[in-house]
Symmetry: C2
Subunit: 404 residues, 2 copies
């Protein structure tokens, strides 16, 4: 068996794989004069799959994408920021269809092979005249993924993008991606916008399966504020231009593909957590010794989402009781006398009993840009890691005046 | 049948009913020189019941109270603030037992008839020498409920207390109560400290039943931050000194007792929501037209607990899409095209379609001290109301430096 090399680059983007082009423009949907309308385009038809918000209130683009996916003929995604096209009834769905038609005309492809995504304020109609009037301004390029990564930002402060290349013998393929998501982020299927593209030759079933697996351990393990947006989606398009062997469940490259996709998704997910609204640091919570993977994930996510834990980390306050209280209310079985708790490498609680510790050392860890928290429940063999950010005064400021 | 008159007074307290005394002292558990140790005492044995935190990590006083209740002989409650006596293992339980013994000796009653409650930082042992050295300083009085209401405060800015008197023919009885709870408040059984006392003659079964019912529609419908404390409890003591007829499920005064108890609990619960950490206003969310009472409660609580909704209300931002997004992720069945939404008396969404509205009017409502939000799901006949507060920068400031 040929050894596969998986190499990640943070300078990569969604157009790093062969045959993908992108671009963006300032269509005036946002009033701030920044790019807010973009296109991702594949020169050849793609196998495409998606994962969508679990919110029962689904934005029109989500409804449309759920109708059009999975597909073997996807050619493009048109995306706007500044308006969510959510909670506006039937007219919103017509606007989303119209938006796919405008993109299709611009690109010379068929409208049903175009997907649509939107992000921004809920409850406002899309300004269709701005989209129609400006979509022609978008120029596509092989470097355009970087521009598109900026155009999909809302309260994000930095774009999130990257790419992974897998080399195995004579086979080589790349997976690239961009993501956005700063508020309304909580683990419940896809709660953000993420567009992934690959030139690998991948079967549709395996594509769907591997996306689900990668998202479960990445985007679904990120929490900013416990809210789940009606809009968000993760799309994965595979155009097969790398000409590698067909990657399927039983194929030799399946593991490498999964590893590369998962690595990219974790990278993008951590980028989202680190750039949560008002965040000053990344919190990484690992829970080990749990009876099942599902309960391990629930425990890790509950801790990382606790406002009191997040506020304590913000203030570099070693108030570890809040971590124990959060896991205690998570619904996951715990036995107090078996719990060990670590912040960084300092053990604060062993077998349920508080230990004397050096507060300076713990405060130093809490004050760093990545804060690792580890809980050992000692009740099983399952583990999970979740990512979040601290809760700052700035989060409140951002969110108390979003539409005004 | 005799008409019952239920009259509420906000100047009442837990010692308003006959035969109850209370007092408090500064024992030095908190470093700020404020009262932090108190006693509630009944001259005669009480029927007593309690409701406790759903957190699996239970503070020692909760474990002890669950052992000792229900009781027909309860005589006193000893309470401290400044230290939770939680997450400290077996020694914590011994400390709680010792605290009940110290109170029993001070009062000349039997230790097993004394209940204990604690609130404050998790993971620190109780300073038993401070409790032992200062419990003798507490002087009990008929007015002492007011002092006790202050002694149980942590980050609360105002005490919460009140009393209700029921008069029906020649019968008259009073229920009084005090409560605390400013952070770590979320609906999941009793997530705060609340001590209720009555001089009514009440059977133990009915006492338990009526407390459960009152708490379900009051304290369990309050959310400050989604966190549930390991410590909190609601206790109800009935000493029978009013000499009224026995109140039981089938008795003539059952309805009046329930009404009075529920009114008092809602008053105290709203007081807690209004005084949430950093709060500047009360949010009252009513959800009507739901298929069951349980799902109605879930919908109302999810909305009132959403950080994005809370931040928008803080900033007087009519960003109503967040309310719709919150109910959409609540797990409660919704049909988008049937939803009506009101802020104050302004309808923003009718049958799922946004209406033109006067933003000045909605901003005026959002800027007031009580913000009523009403959602009509139009899918059933059940309703629920939940209370919470806005999310301010001050909440974060308070919670980022709680132990330091």
């Amino acid at each position: 068996m040929v050894e596969a090399r998986v190499s990640f680059t943070s300078s990569g983007t969604v157009t790093s794989p062969h045959g993908f082009l992108a671009g963006a423009t300032d269509a005036g949907i946002k009033k701030t004069g920044v790019p807010d309308l973009g296109l991702l385009y594949s020169e050849t038809p793609c196998r495409a799959v998606g994962l969508f918000t679990a919110n029962q209130i689904k934005a029109a683009p989500v409804v449309l994408a759920q109708e059009r996916l999975p597909s073997k003929k996807a050619r493009a995604v048109v995306i706007n920021s500044g308006c969510a096209n959510a909670s506006v009834g039937e007219p919103g769905l017509n606007d989303a269809i119209k938006m796919s038609e405008l993109a299709a005309r611009r690109l010379g492809v068929s409208a049903e092979n175009v997907l649509v995504a939107s992000t921004g304020v809920i409850g406002k109609r899309l300004p269709m005249e701005l989209i129609e009037g400006n979509i022609g301004q978008i120029s596509l390029s092989r470097e355009g993924g970087h521009e598109l990564a900026r155009a999909i930002m809302t309260t994000d402060t930095v774009p999130k993008e990257g790419a992974v290349t897998v080399t195995a013998g004579s086979s080589e393929f790349t997976i690239g991606g961009i993501a956005k998501g700063s508020g309304m982020i909580h683990p419940n299927l896809a709660t953000l916008l993420c567009f992934l593209a690959t030139d690998a030759v991948v079967g549709l079933d395996f594509l769907r399966h591997s996306l689900k697996k990668a998202v479960a351990a990445s985007f679904n393990m990120v929490s900013i504020d416990g809210d789940t947006s009606p809009n968000d989606m993760v799309l994965l398009l595979a155009n097969g231009q790398a000409g590698s062997k067909l990657i399927s469940e039983s194929g030799t490259l399946a593991d490498s593909f999964q590893r590369a996709l998962s690595e990219l998704c974790v990278y993008l997910a951590k980028g989202i957590a680190r750039d949560g609204e008002g965040a000053t640091k990344l919190i990484e919570v690992t829970v080990n010794g749990v009876s099942s993977p599902e309960t391990a994930r629930l425990a890790a996510r509950t801790i990382v989402a606790s406002p009191l834990v997040k506020a304590a980390v913000h203030g570099n306050d070693p108030n570890w009781g809040r971590i124990i209280a959060a896991v205690g209310r998570s619904g996951v079985e715990v036995v107090e006398s078996k719990i060990d708790l670590y912040i960084g490498s300092t053990c604060l609680l062993a077998a349920g009993l508080p230990l004397a510790y050096n507060p300076e050392e713990v405060i130093r860890v809490l004050a760093s840009s990545e804060v690792p928290v580890r809980l050992e429940l000692n009740l099983g063999t399952a583990s999970a890691t979740a990512w979040g950010c601290d809760l700052s005064e700035e989060y409140v400021t951002i969110n108390s005046a979003y539409t005004t």
